[in-house]
């Protein structure tokens, strides 16, 4: 059983009672790991929220096309200042969010927790579905709904909330990164799955060696193209090496 609150887990099934207890204490005292977890999460959420606010602002402005800056042509529709700033805020939010997602990933790799893939993916698509739906139904002066936004909104919602629901139920694979039991002990840990939720095909590169793929479970197949241990120089799966 894997119990998750924020960035803590119960001992892995293969760890002995004494070793698991020591590893838990070690993880709990990993101040840097938890610091990276919290700072990275705060930065990642900041980037996602800024992206949401910027897109919402752009859609609320009603500007469909505009141009600004020095160029050889006469601009028919100059961008309003707030629209220009919102459009510049979007790449800043994306880059900043990615940087802090990296910090969060470092924290998760040290103390375990919800995968940055799940936070970033569901946060991005799930949050953007809201303004798309909202302004798709904004009939405005034309009296017509924005069909393009109404098509995109449910797709974004499914892409965002689908993995969030699945990952919330099945805390494994790409959705949840179990904390390494302990750094020195995991180097020789058995890759044999013990049937627990956290031991079936873990996708995290710093965790113990992944076991064989379990049907119905999400996560990279050991030696597959998504396996982080697979390198282009040696495409053979690690499990088949002599």
């Amino acid at each position: 059983m894997t119990f998750v609150v924020g960035g803590t887990t119960s001992p892995r099934p293969e760890a002995g009672p004494a070793g698991g207890g020591r590893a838990q204490v070690g993880r709990a005292r990993d101040v840097l790991g938890h610091l990276a977890l919290f700072v990275g999460l705060a930065g990642l959420v900041t980037g996602l929220a800024l992206l949401y606010i910027s897109v919402d602002h752009l859609l609320a402005s009603g500007v469909t096309s505009c141009a600004s800056g020095p160029q050889p042509y006469v601009v028919a529709n100059p961008c309003p200042d707030d629209v220009l700033r919102a459009s510049l805020l979007i790449p800043a939010a994306v880059v900043g969010g990615l940087v802090f997602a990296g910090v969060y990933a470092v924290g998760v790799s040290r103390v375990g927790g919800v995968s940055p893939w799940l936070v970033g993916w569901s946060g991005l698509f799930g949050s953007l579905a809201v303004p798309f739906w909202r302004y798709g139904l904004d009939f405005g002066s034309s009296g017509e709904a924005n069909v393009g936004l109404l098509v995109v909104a449910p797709i974004f919602a499914a892409m965002g909330f689908g993995p969030l629901l699945y990952g919330g139920i099945n805390r494994e694979g790409l959705f949840y990164a179990p904390a390494p039991a302990s750094r020195p002990a995991t180097s020789g840990a058995s890759a044999t799955p013990s049937g627990g939720p956290g031991s079936a095909g873990p996708a995290w590169p710093t965790g113990p060696a992944p076991g064989p793929r379990v049907p119905g479970r999400i996560g990279p197949r050991p030696g597959g193209i998504l396996d982080p241990r697979r390198t282009p120089a040696d495409p053979r799966p690690p499990a088949t090496r002599p």
Partner: protein
Amino acid sequence: VTVAAKLLVAVLTLAAAASGVLLANAIAGAVL
């Protein structure tokens, strides 16, 4: 790990997420 430690991590995680939203609001308020 005690229940108190887990609760502390959960509270700090929520606080980090909430502070991210507040910070984004502040930045957007200053820029837009």
